[in-house]
């Protein structure tokens, strides 16, 4: 049956037009320019010279020795790539481990108090990302709260170095992105009908079986959405590694920024940006495929 509101193609196009125009102008379109820039030559003071070159793309993974002209792996870049991927996966995993039970807990509260619990999740989420990162920084720095408490209790004599380590990035990113995991899982669980669970128990399912066979498949879209919402910003994280990594634990975002700032190599920055984009897309495709095949096998 045709829908009363947007039944014709023309209505549909008109309804979509504003969103599409904004997105093409300030999100999708400029990416094409990045692609062009990645094949140009860096200008002396930033910007580009309009000469075709593939140096930037070589520069992503390889570096040429200044004196001998010998090519070798760009170890510094590889380290940053690996750190970004590893920490993003771990952050998504940690967020799920903490976020799923929390979303479940909220969804199983009485209807009126659920909103209050969600409000408690929303408040940190509404707090600026930078503020939250800063709060974590205060907690874990050498003169920070955790170390002060540990020293006062006599557990350690020297402060434990947590800031500027990979641990600090992991903690910071999990802290910052956790609500993005809880929100979609809760949204998909909110309307969950626990009669299904009752039916499961009537059929002698264990709690684990109910969780795995009844609840998880139904809230899976929420989990998928949550994982994407956490993984993608982590991979391109810039603020958290800048504040908590202090220039020692660079992630891809910081490496890209360096090219547009201090190092004045816009084409390399463009090539690195697109490389990051490709990694994200590969991850997304892989993810969609996994979910797709599982859905088919559950048939």
């Amino acid at each position: 049956m045709p829908d009363p509101i947007s039944s014709t193609a023309r209505t549909r196009a008109a309804l979509l037009a504003p969103a599409m125009a904004i997105l093409i102008f300030a999100a999708a379109g400029p990416l094409v320019i990045v692609l062009i820039y990645s094949f140009l030559t860096p200008g002396d003071y930033g910007g580009v010279v309009w000469d075709f070159s593939t140096d930037a793309w070589f520069g992503v993974l390889a570096e040429r020795d200044f004196f001998t002209e010998e090519l070798s792996w760009a170890d510094a870049h590889l380290t940053v790539f690996w750190r970004s991927i590893k920490l993003s996966l771990l952050t998504a995993l940690l967020s799920f481990i903490f976020g799923f039970p929390t979303a479940y807990f909220i969804a199983t509260r009485p209807r009126r108090s659920r909103d209050i619990w969600m409000l408690l999740v929303m408040i940190p989420f509404w707090t600026n990302l930078l503020i939250r990162t800063f709060a974590i920084m205060e907690l874990i720095r050498n003169e920070g709260t955790i170390n002060t408490v540990l020293i006062a209790m006599g557990l350690v004599t020297q402060p434990v170095q947590m800031l500027y380590t990979e641990f600090s990035l992991l903690l910071g990113m999990t802290y910052v992105y956790l609500p993005l995991m809880i929100l979609p899982i809760y949204a998909s669980m909110e309307r969950f009908d626990f009669k299904l669970v009752e039916a499961g128990y009537d059929l002698y399912a264990t709690r684990w079986q109910v969780l795995r066979r009844v609840i998880l498949p139904i809230v899976k879209p929420g989990i998928v959405a949550g994982s994407i919402l956490v993984f993608v910003p982590c991979l391109g994280a810039y603020v958290t590694p800048r504040v908590l990594g202090g220039g020692k634990q660079l992630m891809l975002g910081n490496l890209i920024e360096l090219q547009f700032g201090q190092l004045r190599n816009w084409p390399l920055g463009a090539a690195l940006s697109l490389t990051l984009l490709v990694i994200v897309m590969v991850a997304l495709i892989f993810y969609v495929r996994t979910v797709g095949t599982e859905e088919r096998s559950h048939g």
């Binding site: 509101i5 969103a19 039970p101 940190p124 707090t127 503020i131 205060e138 709690r207 603020v239 990051l276």
Partner: protein, 266 residues
């Protein structure tokens, strides 16, 4: 009938959830506490004082950055939410159509493309436009923010539309309601919680933004977050805690207001 067996219980979940809430709030509570510190330190308590609030309030850079942040976030969330409502209608109230994938890809693009990549691409694109037109105003930031706010506004609105019972809309159409009338009298009243959620998300995402703003802004266009990021490089004083606390207070007030608004509507 008394329930001897709680079907909703899963072992350990409540403990994790409580730990989660403690983890979410502990750093913020400490941050707020030290904003009232009388001393220079953000981790050594030297007595209660409002001095850092006074010093932040008198700081003209902070005043200007605050106003700029709010203007951008308001503009971007209004634009993004309006566009998202229309787009959500076009993508839910319809049979599958050609080009649907492209539309979805575009809408979700800001979620998939890392912020730093968008930031870099906008830096390049807008610096070209700035050279061509000479215009260096706030609209670059508003449009850039609107774009990445669209998917955040779109998600809850679309979810709400999909969860609705279509038979009411169809009954409305059967009774010769025009599409606009059906939307206004049937869809919109049910859609409000989604729209509010979408606008809230959009506003917070815009207010929260550091990366894209940092790359797109012209000289002297610091928003509160980019101003704070710049300060973190220097010697940190509780002034940062004071600004953070003020922002936090605004957030809590807004969320609570929205919370009660959506509650009375139910």
């Amino acid at each position: 009938m008394a329930k001897a067996f709680d079907v909703t219980r899963q072992p350990g979940f409540t403990a994790v959830a409580i730990a989660c809430f403690v983890m979410l709030y502990l750093p913020i509570v400490l941050l707020v506490a030290y904003s009232f510190n009388a001393g220079q330190s953000i981790s050594q308590w030297e007595g209660f004082s409002f001095r850092w609030y006074v010093s932040a309030w008198d700081n003209e850079q902070i005043q200007a950055a605050t106003i700029r942040s709010v203007v951008i976030a308001l503009g971007a969330s209004i634009i993004a939410t309006s566009a998202a409502v229309l787009a959500a209608l076009a993508t839910t109230r319809t049979t599958p159509w050609k080009g649907q994938t492209v539309a979805f890809a575009l809408i979700n693009q800001p979620l998939m493309v890392p912020e730093i990549v968008t930031a870099v691409s906008l830096l390049i694109f807008f610096s070209m436009i700035k050279v061509w037109t000479g215009y260096t105003g706030l609209w670059y930031l508003v449009i850039a923010h609107s774009a990445f706010c669209i998917p955040f506004a779109y998600m809850p609105i679309r979810a709400r539309l999909q969860g609705m019972d279509l038979s009411l809309e169809q009954a409305g159409a059967d009774l010769y309601g025009t599409p606009v009338k059906v939307f206004r009298t049937i869809t919109l009243p049910q859609l409000w919680p989604g729209i509010l959620a979408g606008a809230m998300l959009a506003f917070v995402i815009s207010l929260d933004d550091v990366v894209i703003t940092e790359f797109v802004k012209s000289a002297g266009q610091d928003t509160l977050p980019t101003y704070m990021l710049g300060q973190l490089r220097r010697n940190i004083t509780p002034e940062i805690n004071a600004i953070s606390t003020a922002l936090l207070a605004i957030s809590v007030l807004l969320v609570t207001a929205f919370f009660f608004m959506s509650r009375t509507r139910k």
